[in-house]
């Protein structure tokens, strides 16, 4: 085998692997990426039911209902719009009314979310960045006080 052939094989196989990887990345990008939406985003854009989304905001005070078999329903609000969320399982320790929350799951026909993941902030100083962002956009974010500390 000549030097040229050897070099060609090396370059050719590198390109083949890279192409395969790019193909994998692109196909995975289209199928397995989840967009974050605030409740207002959801109210404005009408997404197809069945889309996987993440929604973030505050747990609306008074909206939490606990059912049998660890079923929980609550509403996520950014102050302008509320999105109902259904979830079955154990909610995080810091899941409380009026506190920041991120829910991920499937959008249902009625505009509610069938969540398989519920995340809350993990200490009293920290609020999920996405929630801060959603609140800022709806104008409900107050600088200063406890919340500003949370944004650090």
């Amino acid at each position: 085998m000549t030097r040229k052939q050897r070099r060609l094989i090396l370059i050719g196989s590198s390109l083949a692997v890279l192409t395969a990887a790019v193909g994998l990345v692109l196909s995975a990008m289209s199928s397995s990426i989840v967009f974050f939406q605030s409740p207002s985003d959801l109210a404005e854009h009408h997404l197809a039911p069945g889309t996987r989304i993440r929604v973030g905001g505050l747990v609306k005070p008074g909206s939490v209902e606990r059912g049998d078999n660890l079923r929980v329903r609550f509403e996520v609000t950014d102050g302008k719009h509320d999105i109902p969320v259904r979830y079955q399982g154990i909610v995080p320790d810091l899941f409380r009314e009026g506190q920041g929350v991120v829910a991920e799951g499937k959008l249902e026909a009625g505009g509610s979310i069938d969540a398989d993941t519920v995340l809350a902030k993990h200490d009293e100083r920290y609020m999920p960045k996405e929630v801060v962002e959603a609140l800022k956009r709806s104008g409900r974010w107050q600088e200063g006080g406890e919340q500003a500390g949370a944004a650090k």
Binding site: M1, R3, R6, R7, I9, L10, S13, S14, V17, L18, A20, A21, L24, V25, S27, A28, M29, S31, S32, I33, V34, F35, F36, R54, N69, L70, G89, I90, V91, D93, L94, E104, H122, D123, E124, R125, Y126, P128, K129, E130, E133, K152
Partner: protein
């Protein structure tokens, strides 16, 4: 007084660092031995001064000196001693101090063990090492000084984040940093080689032990972090494809590639330029990891409270070193003498294949980690790239790599015999196929991936032992001969086999725990019994127990298997008053390599409590595999020819025993 002493020591370390950044370089240019030797002394002194600074900070934490801002923010007088010590690096400032401590430690090690290095190379390496160190000393002193005082001093601290109040904090960050920072040596060697414009097989021989040592620490550090997340987050996941985890995985992938390409360079004097580039990239990925975690672009348990100046400073360091390194590479790589080419079917070819797949896999992880950040910066859209993305991209590449892995050690250098290697792997193929077939028969066809994964793991396990069996003549020669031959095999051959065996063990653990694990998330009343995978769990009750700085709600559950009691499980929830926070302490029961996992949820006034109960078959193999990989590295490192400081046998003849 103590904090000022620490602060002063750090400033002195910076001064020494600046001297060491310049003087040895001049010495190396002028061939002035005295100037070059200076580097060895300053490297040791730097290390001593950083130790003083670090110990000063430890003393402040142990003595609960709340006049220091970081101590006030991250410690509490009621904390047990071990957490007072570990909280030194449980915050941004202290963890950066640990970072430079380890960096200076590696510098001192090169000074101490690099006696057989050519004087100019050693001087240049230490100078480059000192550039990195000086940049980070400056970063600490200007933006993240751990010795800042508060006036007036508060009476009590705000406590360490309860999630971090765990023995894991004592082990995980130091190990991870030893790995991350250890790759700086490979970087410094690469830059020094570019400065000198000279590189040969001996270079690889010097770099490899350092890379191997860093790789071992990183392997163990990642595994430790994974196990910590597994038992502390309460839902039994062991890898989340969280950007911070990816930040540690990327240097590991690049470092693994570097280890393998350095072998080619050492044995065959080929792949030189590529190896240099990999050395630069590996440490660059470590720096990117540090940037991602420390700059506050990501929010996670790892990113402590942050201010934006720090992010910009680290970004500047990042641009300086990665950009500078790559520019130097572009300018000087052509000066280096090209290595030879080789046949595609050969040991070298197999190692190139390894490099190709590892770096591509690393690239997919990098894409998945940085894409959301880039998209948010450009369009403002927020997306999550999670497990599914990486399973679809990283997964197939690693599977392809593992299929080929057993072939590598069986191929000869220069020109290998693919058919011969395949024949010798017949036993491995047979075992893999048989295991896959049995799994498929038991499991049915609803999951094809699981039998494939289990088969692949067994194929790699048998395959990685095939080389050893071949070379000791196992089953073909009398046992005495086998034993004699086994004793004569180079340790690095054992190391390779062990490392490859380890990765297969990890794969087996991931597949089994993922496929045949079962879970139950229910509410139980006292006295109630639930069943999962042949285990009966009876809820006996809960009680409140006080801890040193928290109060715990401890549940007691009796576990029976086939009617026989096998033990108690006592998961708990700890409430920390200072931060109004709760942590979950899952109860684990290890049965062979499998585990039962139990964590508590909310309790109700009627005495019932929500629980998560998991059965995780063979889950321990995931981490055991990493330990075996690490031991493989240790075996290789102890190989006579690789031992740090061993005199170099400069023969580069192709008659060398291949392994």
């Amino acid at each position: 007084m103590i904090p000022e002493l620490g602060h002063y020591a750090l400033v002195l370390a910076l001064a020494l660092g600046l001297v060491q950044s310049v003087v040895p370089l001049i010495g190396a240019r002028r061939r002035d031995t005295a100037l070059m030797r200076l580097a060895s002394s300053t490297a040791r002194m730097q290390c001593a001064f950083v130790w003083i600074a670090f110990l000063a900070l430890v003393l402040c934490y142990v003595g609960s000196d709340f006049s220091l801002r970081t101590v006030y923010e991250n410690s509490h007088s009621q904390m047990p001693l071990i957490y007072k010590i570990t909280s030194v690096w449980g915050n941004h400032e202290g963890s950066m101090l640990l970072w430079v401590l380890i960096l200076s430690l590696f510098g001192a090690w090169v000074a101490a063990f690099g006696g057989n290095l050519p004087a100019t190379l050693k001087a240049n390496v230490l100078a480059v090492q000192s550039w990195i160190a000086s940049a980070f000393y400056l970063f600490i002193l200007l933006t993240s000084n751990p010795f800042l005082r508060l006036q007036p001093a508060p009476f009590e601290g705000r406590d360490l984040n309860p999630i971090l109040q765990d023995p894991g904090l004592a082990i995980h960050p130091p190990l991870l940093y030893l790995g991350y920072v250890g790759f700086s040596i490979a970087f410094s060697f690469a830059i020094a080689a570019l400065i000198e414009g000279k590189i040969d097989a001996a270079w690889a021989r010097w770099v490899r032990p350092w890379t191997l040592a860093a790789w071992m620490f990183l392997t163990l550090g990642i595994a430790m972090g994974s196990y910590w997340a597994y038992y502390t987050l309460g839902w039994g996941g062991f890898w989340f494809w969280d950007p911070v985890e990816n930040a540690s995985l990327m240097p590991w992938l690049a470092g693994t590639a570097l280890l393998h390409s350095a072998v080619v360079m050492e044995k065959r004097n080929a792949l030189k330029i590529w190896t240099i580039l990999l050395a630069i990239l590996t440490f660059s990925l470590s720096l990117i990891g540090t940037f991602l975690v420390r700059s506050g672009v990501l929010t996670s348990v790892h990113s402590f409270a942050n201010d934006p100046r720090r992010g910009i400073f680290i970004l500047a360091i990042l641009v300086l070193f990665i950009g500078g390194g790559l520019t130097l590479f572009a300018a000087r790589a052509s000066v280096l003498k090209q290595g030879g080419l080789f046949a595609p079917i050969s040991r070298e070819g197999a190692l190139v294949f390894n490099n190709l797949f590892l770096t591509t896999a690393c690239l997919t992880v990098l894409t998945g980690t940085l894409y959301p950040l880039a998209l948010e910066a450009l369009t403002g859209a927020k997306i999550t790239v999670g497990g599914p993305f990486f399973n679809l991209t990283f997964g197939p590449l690693i599977v392809a790599l593992m299929v080929v892995m057993p072939f590598g050690p069986l191929l000869a250098w220069k020109r290998g015999d693919l058919l011969g290697a395949a024949q010798r792997l017949l036993a491995a193929f047979a075992v893999g196929l048989a295991v896959a077939a049995i799994t498929l028969a038991i499991e049915g066809t609803h999951s094809v991936l699981a039998p494939f994964g289990v088969g692949l793991a067994f194929y790699v396990m048998v395959g990685s032992l095939t080389d050893l069996a071949e070379r000791t003549g196992l089953l073909r020669t009398p046992l005495g001969t086998v034993r004699a031959r086994a004793a004569g095999l180079p340790r690095s051959a054992w190391g390779t086999a062990a490392a490859h065996f380890g990765i297969a063990l990890t794969l087996l653990g991931i597949v089994c725990a993922g496929t045949w694990g079962s879970e139950l998330i229910v509410e139980v009343k006292p006295g109630q019994t639930i069943s999962l995978s042949g285990y009966d769990l009876t809820y006996a009750g809960v009680k409140q127990e006080p801890g040193p700085n928290y109060s715990a709600l401890v549940g007691t559950f009796i576990v029976r298997s086939g009617g026989v009691a096998v033990g108690l499980m006592q998961p708990s929830k700890r409430t920390f008053a200072t931060r109004a926070m709760t942590t979950n302490e899952a109860a684990l029961m290890t049965r062979g390599a499998s585990q039962l996992y139990l964590s508590l949820g909310d309790s109700k006034p009627d005495g019932s409590i929500a629980i998560r109960f998991y059965y995780k078959p063979l889950v321990m193999l995931i981490w055991l595999g990493a330990v075996v990989m690490m031991l493989g590295g240790a075996l290789s490192l102890s190989d006579r020819r690789l031992r740090i400081g061993a005199p170099k046998p400069a023969t580069k003849s192709s008659l060398q025993p291949a392994e």
